[in-house]
Amino acid sequence: MRSLLLGAIFTSLILISGCGPNSGESVEDGLKIVVIPKGTTHEFWKSIHAGAIKAKQELKAKGQSVEIIWKGPLKEDDRDEQIKVVENFISSGVDGMVLAPLDNKALVRPVETANNAKIPVVIIDSGLESDKYTSFVSTDNYAGGKMGGDYLGKLLAGKGNVLMLRYAVGSASTTNREQGFLDAIKEKYPDIKVLSSDQYAGATRELAYTVSQNLLSRYNTEVNGIFCPNESVTVSMTKALRDLGKAKGKVKVVGFDTSVQSLRDLEGGDVQGLVVQNPVRMGYLGVKTLVSHLAGDVVSKRIDTGVAMVTKANMLESEIQELINPPIEKYLGAGN
């Protein structure tokens, strides 16, 4: 009786496993590369995925076969979960890894483990406090932050009070942007006063909105310009400004990264500028750099993927369009 039951469960499990995508695909002879983002639902990571697939297609055209495995942590923004993913791929044996580390310290040991297992790791997006990686392919976030600072300073004509709402503790990329912004203001616009730069918005949009409201209720009479170091903070801050009737350029906002909402805000005049990265290029160069390294080429330890300032004026230009509307569907299919 029990064995019958077990048999039924067994079969159903096999059926379930059969339903899993890719299980029918045979293992290719070429390189097996895993790309590990910080999360999988956000547009930004899909662009990186698209870039990785773009690299794969290009390499295939050249006769180099590459299998790309795309695997984020089960719970987004959970360091321990990302460590597990890295470990699992080390012991399952891939040829190389492209990793966007969730924490610049916590991921050090897994990367060193990979290094000891002779698996090269290319770091993308955010930095890591280690030198055991092959290359660091990312936006120069410090430069991006500086670009934001320059632009906001210009908008305010070198005078007034600004706020900066930080993103989250331990996120190296945003920390660099924040530092770049502060340095730009300090160096070029000595008459601009930074009212607050020590508040953290936190990982979720909901939290960022609450913190923005709190911050604005304290400074809404004095503030002239605001810098937001990432997409969620930009959108939440703009929403909080709208609530107070301080949007539409009364308070200038320079944000970072794009989303449907932040582009709408840019178009509507609630946001004056968005510093955008090139995530497709990041994914593309991440994979390409790793493959060159595996082929024995010498690769540069630091590769910048560049930033651009998007404003209402230039947002329809084709170059900018490529950045703010990355051709994800072209590479990932309509399903994604």
Binding site: M1, R2, L4, L5, L6, I9, F10, L13, I14, I16, S17, C19, G20, P21, N22, S23, V27, T40, I69, K71, G72, L74, K75, D78, R79, D80, I83, K84, V85, E87, N88, F89, I90, S91, S92, G93, D103, K105, A106, V108, R109, P110, E112, T113, A114, N116, A117, V169, G170, Y200, A203
Partner: protein, 333 residues
């Protein structure tokens, strides 16, 4: 008279987690890709390392659940403990002080849980739900809302969960795995064989009977929650070692994973049933599933669905069997 030591149904019940694990492994063995990759020594080392935190937590949780209670603050205590460990290392304390200091903090939280539950006759669910928020809050407060990265790392603690030096072989296993195995053996004997363990079962099975039979119910409950807290504290040391930093936002929802492991391991949430080997196997099974899904490149949602199904199946097997039996009998007539 010749008595068999275990009745057959009881034997099957005790074997349930092993059957589940065997099923998962057999399923993996059927797949040609997993067969070559999953069943490597180095991969088992990875899974064992990933099991340690849930397994140590599950040992404490098993005590609580067998006694008829529940502890929802496990994840928060792990986070708190990881921050406390980081703070203690910042003050340059040695291995023993850091470890036992952290365990002590976990035990204090457990002591509060047990004390409140018995003194005010409150539901464990409510008390530990409250404590879940309190411990999480305190850990964020202590950590000043950010990760705590000791300037001079304490290698002995960091190495507890470190297998970066030999990623391609099964041995040496990291110290944390050995600690977990040792603790599991000790706890299995304590729960199964000791008088204290029998009292835990008695309380969970029927508190009134336990009281009638002269068992110090309240004292035992306080002890159970305190011990559980100590285990969560130790799991926190392991969590620190994994991240090499104290992280107040780590282990969110870990209590549910721990409870799932305990339940897959054959424990009953109404108390009076459960075992340490079962719970540890449950934890190992969940880590194996996650690892296998990862290797198979199943998307995350697939992995979440499968683990969910496994939990329900593991527990539902006992209920399902008599139902099927009745159904078949009906058809015969």
């Amino acid at each position: 008279m010749n008595w068999s030591r275990l009745s057959s149904s009881e034997f099957l019940k005790a074997m349930r987690p092993f059957v589940g694990l065997f099923l998962v492994l057999a399923l993996f063995a059927l797949d040609s890709e997993l067969r070559t990759v999953f069943f490597k020594g180095s991969n088992f080392k990875t899974i064992l390392t990933q099991t340690v935190i849930v397994a140590i937590g599950a040992m404490g949780m098993t005590l609580v659940i067998v006694s008829g209670g529940i502890d929802l603050c496990a994840g928060s205590v792990v986070a708190l403990a990881s921050v406390v460990a980081a703070k203690l290392i910042e003050y340059n304390y040695g291995f023993l002080t850091v470890t036992f200091g952290t365990i002590f903090v976990g035990a204090i939280v457990g002591l509060f849980n047990g004390g409140i539950i018995t003194a005010f006759r409150m539901m464990p669910f409510i008390v530990t739900l409250g404590m879940m928020g309190i411990a999480r809050g305190i850990s964020k407060w202590l950590a000043n809302n950010q990760t705590v990265n000791p300037k001079t790392p304490l290698d002995s603690v960091n190495q507890l969960m470190d297998n970066s030096q030999s990623p391609l072989t099964f041995f040496p296993l990291p110290d944390g795995v050995w600690f977990a195995i040792g603790l599991a053996v000790f706890m299995a004997i304590l729960l199964r064989r000791s008088v204290f363990g029998r009292h835990v079962f008695a309380i969970g099975s029927n508190e009134d009977t336990a009281r009638l039979c002269g068992i110090r119910v309240n004292l035992n409950k306080v002890l159970i929650y305190t011990l559980a807290g100590a285990f969560f504290g130790f799991a926190g040391v392991m969590q620190f070692s994994r991240l090499t930093q104290g992280d107040p936002s780590v282990a969110i929802g870990l209590e549910l994973q721990i409870i799932a492991a305990v339940v897959i391991g054959g424990a009953s949430l109404s108390g009076g049933a459960g075992s340490i080997p079962g719970s540890v196997i449950g934890a190992f099974m969940m880590a194996s599933l996650a690892n296998g899904s990862s290797i198979k490149d199943w998307p995350n949602y697939m992995q979440e669905i499968i683990i969910g199904i496994v939990i329900i199946l593991a527990v539902g097997m006992d209920k399902l069997e008599p139902l099927l039996q009745r159904h078949l009998n009906k058809q015969k007539h």
